[in-house]
């Protein structure tokens, strides 16, 4: 009898020891956009070294794949450069929350022999060029916004992304907003039916084609342009100022756009062509996709704590990787949104949650 007692005690002790061991490995998987992959992997690295009982795997399989895997519940979180459409949200019964994480912007880059000054562009100018209506660099419409620049008689060669891309989404979203003909004829998407031009594979493909084709104009991510020292033009914003894309002017775009957006936003907002004197007009959020009602009690809280950290402390890593950080008003809205996420009907994060210690 006594021996049995000891055995039971030993078993209980073993179980108790195994408990924390089991909690040692919380695995969270996510998948989606490639654009934010460098910052996401940096966050994962930093966060898991702070909390070494958590493993986070992020697979950069593209925004479309991220949305599909999230909708199929094969990953705990998705990531996308273009927000889910209403019909996609309907397909998951509305069980999704978009959380912006960082900002990116897209810049026009060009190669005009003999022109060394930085060119200025307006939305209509870019739309006209990409619609194939402005076909020569000596067009008077280009000269009108670039006084003092002597533009050569050189055919314009439009270069666009051939692969589906969040960069294309931001670019076409902007053109759709500022030009009604673009919106009617082409529209916005990760890949569109381009009226003219050559397709380059990825940012490097577009940049290489532009730099090696006299008269070419294309568009690349700001990060890519900065890191590869590619010259790019300024773009006129809603306030009439020609703005050079930078991390600061990109964050200003988000701040400008948020000024006119209510606290109940679902964050599926386009911030191209925003208000704000210093806002760069071709910018966008990139989003994480989280379920509104979570189902896995093991990963629910660690995942939300990670996202909280990424949108707060994690923002200090953005600048080194050339991503623009979230403006403060957006972070406050994100806090409220994260606290609204539930597990079995009760909020996952306590109402007074202010970030995990350390």
């Amino acid at each position: 009898m006594r021996r049995i007692h000891t055995l039971v005690l030993a078993a209980a002790a073993a179980l108790a020891a195994a408990g924390p061991l089991a909690a040692q490995n919380i695995r969270i998987t996510g998948a989606g956009a490639t654009f934010p992959y460098p910052i996401y992997s940096k966050w994962v690295l930093e966060y898991t070294s702070l909390h070494n009982n958590i493993q986070i795997n992020y697979a950069a399989i593209g925004s479309g794949g991220g949305i599909r895997q999230f909708s199929d519940h094969t990953v705990a979180f998705g990531a996308t450069d273009g927000p889910m459409t209403d019909s996609m949200i309907g397909a998951v019964n509305g069980n999704v929350i978009h959380i912006p994480t960082v900002l990116g912007s897209v810049v026009p880059t060009y190669n005009i022999p003999g022109v060394t000054q930085q060119l200025k562009f307006t939305g209509d100018l870019l739309a006209g060029i990409f619609l194939g209506q402005i076909t020569n660099w000596n067009d008077s419409r280009i000269a009108a916004v670039n006084p003092g620049v002597s533009l050569p008689n050189q055919d314009i060669v439009v270069v666009h992304r051939s692969d589906g891309s969040g960069t294309t989404y931001i670019w076409t979203d902007y053109l759709s907003k500022v030009n009604s003909e673009w919106s009617r004829r082409v529209g916005k998407a990760t890949s569109v039916n381009w009226p003219v031009g050559l397709g380059g594979q990825g940012n490097p493909g577009v940049a290489a084609t532009v730099s090696r084709t006299p008269g070419a104009i294309g568009y690349v991510e700001l990060i890519y342009a900065i890191q590869n020292r590619i010259p790019y033009g300024t773009v006129r914003n809603r306030s009439g100022n020609f703005i050079q894309a930078s991390l600061a002017s990109t964050t200003a775009a988000a701040a400008g756009a948020m000024a006119s957006i209510g606290a109940d936003t679902d964050f599926r907002i386009s911030i191209t062509d925003p208000d704000g004197a210093d806002a760069y007009p071709i910018a966008s959020f990139t989003w994480l996709l989280l379920p509104k009602q979570m189902s896995d009690p093991v990963t629910a809280r660690p995942l939300l704590e990670f996202v909280w950290w990424a949108t707060h402390d994690g923002q200090r890593f953005t600048e080194a990787l050339d991503y623009a950080s979230l403006p403060a008003p957006v972070v406050r809205l994100i806090e409220a949104r994260l606290k609204s996420i539930t597990l079995n009907g009760t909020p996952v994060l306590p109402a007074n949650y202010g970030g995990r210690g350390r």
Binding site: G62, G166, T190, N193, G197
Partner: protein, 324 residues
């Protein structure tokens, strides 16, 4: 009592009944032999299921429409099909003479010390990753074609429909050239083996009749190995049809049908690789899978036609196809 005498067939039957191991062996081999055809069927099945929404919506019109508009959800694959066939045809036009020339030289004319190294170097081309070909094409081949060759040949060729329009660089010509370089080692290596398999007696007979070496090659050796050489060409064509990375980096990726080689084009494999990851709407995705199915069918048709042709050709010279 004398044992009854058995016929040979009966003895075989007896042996088979005794040996259980044989039965197991047979079944195991049968299963292994069926895995590959089943895999093929599974691939076809997967493609049809994935493509079904697009098949239902566009039916066979998909093959003849030229619009590709993911925003409006309208898809047609004609430019892709055309581009795939056109760029592969160009590649074969460039690669086959080069590869055949190399194979003939290496088996018939080259000094012995040269055969090994040159043959190995040609085969090494097959080991270069396709993205390297793409980068080389982007930074070396395109500038060479556009800035050096094109200005020289342009006045002579501009009247041809194959060379009309401005030449920006990324084009069917650039894509087809890189494809030619990529399939060349396959065609050359197989052709060389085929020519090597031609019995020396054939060669010697031709020479004994007074043929020059050139005549011996042209009238005896090549006809003897024609089925095998045709097989080599088909092998190369199959690879050209499905090549993705290098082509998409150089072909310009434009959904448009143009006879002009200096204009951009697009291929099925390149379009699928480009758009699959970021295809957000389910119809877009389905249309891409439909494209994959079309490519699969094209490959099957090309291979079947080639087998039929080889069979036709080989009736005269069965031995020549032994090397394939």
């Amino acid at each position: 009592m004398r044992a009854p005498r058995l016929s040979s067939a009966e003895r075989w039957r007896d042996l088979r009944i005794v040996s259980r191991g044989d039965a197991v062996y047979r079944v195991a081999l049968l299963a292994l032999a069926l895995v590959l055809p089943l895999l093929l069927l599974a691939i076809v099945g997967g493609l049809v299921v994935g493509a079904w929404p697009a098949i239902k919506q566009f039916q066979f019109g998909f093959l003849t429409r030229s619009v590709w508009d993911p925003v409006a959800g309208q898809f047609g694959a004609l430019p892709l099909i055309f581009g795939t066939l056109y760029s592969s045809l160009l590649a074969m036009l460039i690669a086959v003479p080069l590869a055949l020339g190399a194979a003939i030289f290496l088996t018939e004319f080259a000094p012995r010390w040269m055969r090994g190294p040159v043959g190995t170097l040609i085969e090494l081309l097959a080991g270069v990753p396709s993205v390297i070909y793409g980068l080389w094409g982007l930074f070396v081949l395109i500038p060479l074609q556009r800035d050096i060759i094109w200005p020289i040949v342009k006045p002579a060729l501009r009247w041809l429909p194959f060379f009309s329009g401005p030449f920006y660089g990324p084009s069917v010509l650039a894509g087809g050239t890189i494809l030619a370089i990529m399939v060349l080692p396959y065609v050359a290596a197989v052709s060389r083996e085929v020519l090597r398999a031609v019995p020396p007696a054939q060669r010697e007979a031709a020479l004994a009749l007074g043929a020059t070496r050139w005549e011996a090659v042209w009238t005896v050796i090549l006809p003897y190995g024609r089925a095998g050489i045709f097989g080599a060409v088909v092998l190369g064509l199959g690879r050209a049809l499905g090549e993705t990375m290098a082509v998409t980096m150089l072909i310009g990726n434009r959904h448009e049908i143009s006879l002009s080689l200096v204009q951009p084009g697009y291929t099925i494999a390149a379009a699928v690789a480009n758009e699959f990851a970021e295809a957000v709407s389910s119809m877009h995705l389905s249309a891409l899978v439909y494209c994959g199915l079309v490519l699969f069918v094209i490959t099957v048709i090309v291979n079947a036609a080639a087998r039929w042709l080889i069979w036709r050709v080989a009736r005269g010279s069965a031995a020549g196809s032994a090397a394939v």
